[in-house]
């Protein structure tokens, strides 16, 4: 067992524990804080996969923006959910059985795949060249269409969420 394997197992255990706390803790605000820890574990795994750019993006976008937005929403809506009483639906064991079955099925299907035990080769030096990534995003022969669609989607979401959440008379 090498050092990187031990590190991976520790990070994965912390992330999964935080994720379990997100879905099971009674207080919704604590769930939001556990979510931050879980997202940070995912960022560490991105760094472990030698994708430093997405590790940083994960911290900036998910922890810096999305988690803060969720905490705002929790604080704006919390009088009714005073964190008492059950936070799970009555028949919560049905989804529990369902996701346990799904997990077993996923791992079962994946383990029959020939590349399942693939090892990482050495990473080519140009793989993490950000200027190459940026140019591909605006290259007509590469990914300019998804890039533009993503920006239109963000603009639409911005205007839509302002419209939906703004207070109107009548």
């Amino acid at each position: 067992m090498t050092l990187s394997q031990v590190f991976f197992l520790a990070v994965a255990a912390i992330t999964l524990f935080a994720a379990v706390m997100v879905v099971s803790t009674r207080r919704i605000m604590h769930a939001a804080l556990w979510l931050v820890l879980s997202l940070f574990g995912v960022a560490v795994l991105f760094a472990l996969l030698q994708s430093g750019f997405f590790a940083v993006v994960q911290v900036v976008v998910y922890i810096g923006a999305i988690a803060i937005l969720i905490i705002f929403a929790v604080m704006l809506t919390r009088q009714v959910m005073l964190d008492v009483g059950p936070q799970l639906n009555r028949g919560w064991w049905i989804p529990a059985v369902l996701v346990a079955g799904l997990y077993a099925a996923l791992v079962g299907v994946l383990s029959t795949w020939s590349q399942f035990q693939a090892q990482a080769g050495p990473l080519a030096p140009e793989a993490n060249d950000l200027s190459r990534f940026g140019q591909a995003l605006v290259d007509l022969n590469a990914y300019v269409i998804p890039f533009e669609i993503a920006s239109v989607l963000l603009l639409g979401a911005l205007i839509g969420s302002i419209f939906v959440a703004s207070e109107r008379k009548g």
């Binding site: 997202l39 999305i66 969720i70 704006l76 809506t77 989804p95 996923l106 990914y143 302002i162 959440a165």
Partner: protein, 102 residues
């Protein structure tokens, strides 16, 4: 070195935990948190596949960037809807939002 299978098993577990949160939680904000966990599991898978199988090619990274944008848009609109619903109905418990039930 870490084999690809470890990442895939981890991402499957994270996805299943998120799905459980979506299906079992009462609070709409908690359901959105479950969706975030699921999207993160997908991103881990995409980056792992990129690193292990397709490394210098940029398609995987572009896919991850698009998923991030979609997640940000989804969270913003979802939270706006929750706040709007809370203003009108004073609740964020999804069981109580049965206005459109036949």
């Amino acid at each position: 070195m870490i084999p690809l299978s470890w990442y895939l098993i981890f991402a499957a577990a994270l996805f299943c935990i998120g799905l459980f949160g979506v299906l079992a939680r009462k609070n709409a904000v908690a359901i959105l948190m479950g969706v975030e966990l699921m999207l993160n599991a997908v991103n881990i898978n995409l980056v792992a596949f990129w690193r292990y199988l397709y490394a210098p090619d940029l398609a995987g990274l572009t896919f991850v960037a698009i998923v991030l944008v979609a997640a940000a848009a989804e969270t913003a609109v979802g939270l706006a809807l929750i706040i709007s619903v809370y203003r009108r109905r004073s609740t964020v418990v999804v069981d109580d939002l049965s206005l459109m039930k036949g």
